[in-house]
Amino acid sequence: MKALRNFLDKQKPHFEKGGKFEKLNSMFDSVETLMYVPDTVTKKGAHIRDAIDMKRTMIVVFIALLPALFFGMWNIGYQHFLSIGESPDFWTMFFYGFLKMLPIIIISYGVGLGIEILFAQIRNHEVAEGFFVTGLLIPMIVPPETPLWQVALAVAFAVIFGKEVFGGSGMNILNPALLARAFLFFAYPSDISGDKVWIADKADAFSGATPMGDALVGNFDNLPSVFDMFMGFIPGSNGETSTLMILIGAIILLATGIGNWRVMLTVFAGGYVMGLLFNLWGLNEYMDLPAHYHLVMGGFAFGAVFMATDPVTAAQTKKGMYIYGFLIGMIAVLIRVFNPAYPEGVMLAILLMNVFAPLIDHYVIEANIKRRLKRLKAVTS
């Protein structure tokens, strides 16, 4: 360990101002701080600081994603072999999915981190850790058969136009990972919707419709059981099918205090309440779908746990979080049931509420300001 530290210390001057590789400072810095927590000490203000930092925060989210990721890999294999009528052992299925997902993950990280480092260098910042999570989220919310060039394009679009033009991590308005998916959804609709894309190398005769697709066209008899949908034995985007695995991730996020329980809870509540309202209304078969189906179908759970909770793009005040989360749940189900073009509404609901989150916060803060003015008035009058 000493040798490595000495090596880094020796190389450091080359990357600092005036050094040979001055232009690669951000890259060196990101490598150095990845291996060693910096030796900076407090100069102003509090003399001690919490041991948490952005790297630790992000790795917790990363770990929370792993159950869903590994299940997703297995499920890609499982769905593939199911469609061609074979049933090999666990590891064959897992390995099949692993090989399907690995290139997507590599492309996602490669393109995204490349752009991040470039911008960090231009801005003379340290490389922010946000993409550590975004880079894994994107492969998990696209179909297994997404062409790699599309992944690269979507990642580039999301990082540049979703994040860096606003000033980088912490300044963005829309969730970058969802923006990448929305980009694919609108730019290449045939590759991200329909019955063909959800199962890797599907046999032609096999129906590859997701539960969402079935529900959209009214094939309610085709819907898998709630148990299957909860466990995730269904076709879908790579990492979003298993509600169980996502809930394990949610427990990790909540136990460590990284995840936002207010948003998670209210998204689920909003979806469920909307489902119940539709049940009361009962105009068509989709409206009669039991409310809890909505929570285990499609990307609802994944969106609630990993997407809506993004602290940068969510509402930032406590009251705002409740409103924000609840509306996401309601709008997601609303789009599902009423929109004839989009089978799934979670992505659009979250992006829409991302846009409205600052407005919600504005009104919550206005109320606080009004309270203060009222107190002043009570004194002066």
């Binding site: 360990m1 530290r5 701080t33 291996m35 060693y36 927590v37 910096p38 030796d39 900076t40 000490v41 407090t42 100069k43 102003k44 203000g45 509090a46 003399h47 001690i48 600081r49 919490d50 041991a51 948490i52 930092d53 952005m54 790297k55 630790r56 925060t57 790795i59 917790v60 340290e126 922010a128 850790e129 946000g130 000033g167 980088g168 991590s169 912490g170 300044m171 136990a255 460590t256 205090g257 990284i258 936002n260 207010r262 602290p311 940068v312 969510a314 930032q316 005040t317 406590k318 979080m321 916060d361 803060i365 606080n368 300001i369 309270r371 203060r372 003015l373 107190r375 002043l376 004194v379």
Partner: protein, 449 residues
């Protein structure tokens, strides 16, 4: 005791090295008054090196409020007037002749005394700077009539000194100090105590005050928290606040007619071999308490607590308002893959380290920042340790963009930089929040004057 104000949000950081409840003599030779301890003070010297002074002889005054003067805490000789960059006056050092000769200001007849006569005496004796105001934490303006005066009888910061011990047996003096304060305001004097830990009769039997009881984690002992619960500060309003040791100094002036700056200072922290209390005078040099009494490594000496104190040298002086010296290790070490380790020994408010499984563990924390500076990404964190009806992150952002109206609307008058100390500690983005808030307060002060 009627109601207890329960503070729910906050955080008690448990550190090793709490001071034992024994008091020894410090025998300090040198004492110092440091102009930077007084926010917004522009000192003008009244003495030169070599001058002989008594306790209570003026050393310098504030150029913009020339009736506020700062006097020598002990009798002796001025041996140093230390200036920094741009000739900024950093400290005036007095070597004690150990005779404690004091200027005689005459005993106060409390019954006959008026606000004017008391103010004059406090100004002349140099005790006045012990009274500070909110907003801004500057030395109070003698012309103001504060709507209330707050005395906090407890401190909830890490390793804070125990004021019960400090005021022990000084009931008469404390009451005399309170009686002076009562005359300075048309409002109330609030004595704020810890519901559980304040047991001293000196506090509990105080008369002419409203006793308010508080419970909960730090910052439950902060003046802003007390004011927010008892009598919130609105725009244009002023409250004054005084610490318990300062009340004793005022009391001694009333009873003895002298500027008697006796102080008890706690020495605490993980690097101290024998953490305990020292009896001395205001502004004492710390050399005698730490020589042979701290671990031999790279230490940081802090006047005050680890949250809001100021770094001093190992031969530095206790600050004007402090009753605590904390010694903790410096943390200028790289840590190999520190962000990925399970972290049994790491302190964190969040649950990302396994140390969470041991909530009562006491820590030996160093001064490492534990990460790089980032933009504000994580939200909802600060609110958990910030017991005010104020949105901390939004206020910080308003300060960063220097939006005066928004700062005012978001409640900047109700807080002080110390109230943000915990936000700063737990901030994932490693920003310097107290410094930001202080800049915001300074900006408001300039804009409003």
């Amino acid at each position: 005791m009627s109601t207890v104000h329960k503070i729910k949000k906050g955080l008690d950081i448990k550190l090793l090295g709490e001071a034992e409840k024994t008091i020894v003599d410090l025998n300090a030779k040198r004492f110092s008054i440091k102009p930077p301890d007084f926010i917004g003070c522009f000192p003008k010297m009244l003495v030169i090196e070599g001058d002989t002074v008594k306790a209570g002889s003026p050393l310098f005054f504030d150029k913009y409020r020339d009736n506020i003067q700062f006097t020598s805490p002990v009798s002796g000789k001025v041996v140093g007037i230390i200036r920094g960059a741009k000739r900024k006056l950093l400290r005036v050092i007095i070597e004690s002749d150990e005779k404690q000769e004091a200027v005689d200001f005459g005993k106060i007849d409390l019954k006959a005394a008026t606000k004017e006569s008391l103010t004059d005496l406090l100004l002349k004796s140099g005790i006045w700077p012990m009274i500070r105001q909110r907003p801004y934490s500057t030395v109070a303006d003698p012309k103001d009539d504060p709507k209330a005066i707050f005395v906090s009888a407890f401190d909830t910061a890490p390793l804070a000194p125990d004021f019960d011990l400090i005021v022990h047996g000084q009931g008469k003096v404390f009451q005399a100090g309170i009686d002076v304060l009562v005359k300075l305001t048309s409002g109330k004097v609030h004595l704020n105590i810890d519901n559980k830990n304040t047991t001293s009769k000196v506090f509990l039997n105080s008369k002419n005050v409203q006793v308010n009881s508080f419970s909960g984690p730090h910052p439950a002992g902060n003046v802003s928290v007390h004011a927010s619960r008892v009598d919130p500060i609105n725009k244009g309003e002023i409250i004054w606040y005084v610490g318990p040791q300062e009340v004793l100094t005022i009391g001694r002036l009333a009873l003895e007619g002298k500027y008697n700056t006796e102080r008890i200072v706690a020495l605490a922290g993980s690097e101290v071999l024998k953490p305990r209390y020292y009896k001395t005078f205001l502004g004492a040099r710390i050399t005698n308490m730490i020589s042979g009494n701290v671990n031999e490594n790279n230490n940081r000496f802090i006047s005050g607590n680890v949250l809001t104190g100021v770094k001093i040298e190992k031969d530095g002086f206790v600050r004007f308002y402090d009753s605590l010296i904390t010694v903790i290790p410096e943390g200028n070490k790289h840590e190999f893959f520190g962000w990925i380790m399970p972290g049994f020994n790491k302190f964190s408010f969040s649950g990302v380290f396994l140390s969470r499984l041991m909530p009562n563990k006491k820590y030996r924390l160093d001064t490492n920042v534990h990460g790089g500076h980032r933009a504000y990404v994580i939200t909802g964190q600060m609110e958990e340790v910030f017991p005010f009806d104020i949105y901390p992150l939004q206020l910080i952002k308003a300060i960063l963009v220097e939006d005066i109206d928004l700062m005012e609307n978001l409640g900047i008058y109700e807080i002080d930089d110390e109230d943000f100390a915990l936000c700063e500690v737990i901030d994932t983005s490693k920003t310097e929040i107290q410094d930001t808030v202080r800049k915001g307060l300074d900006l408001m002060r300039q804009e409003m004057s």
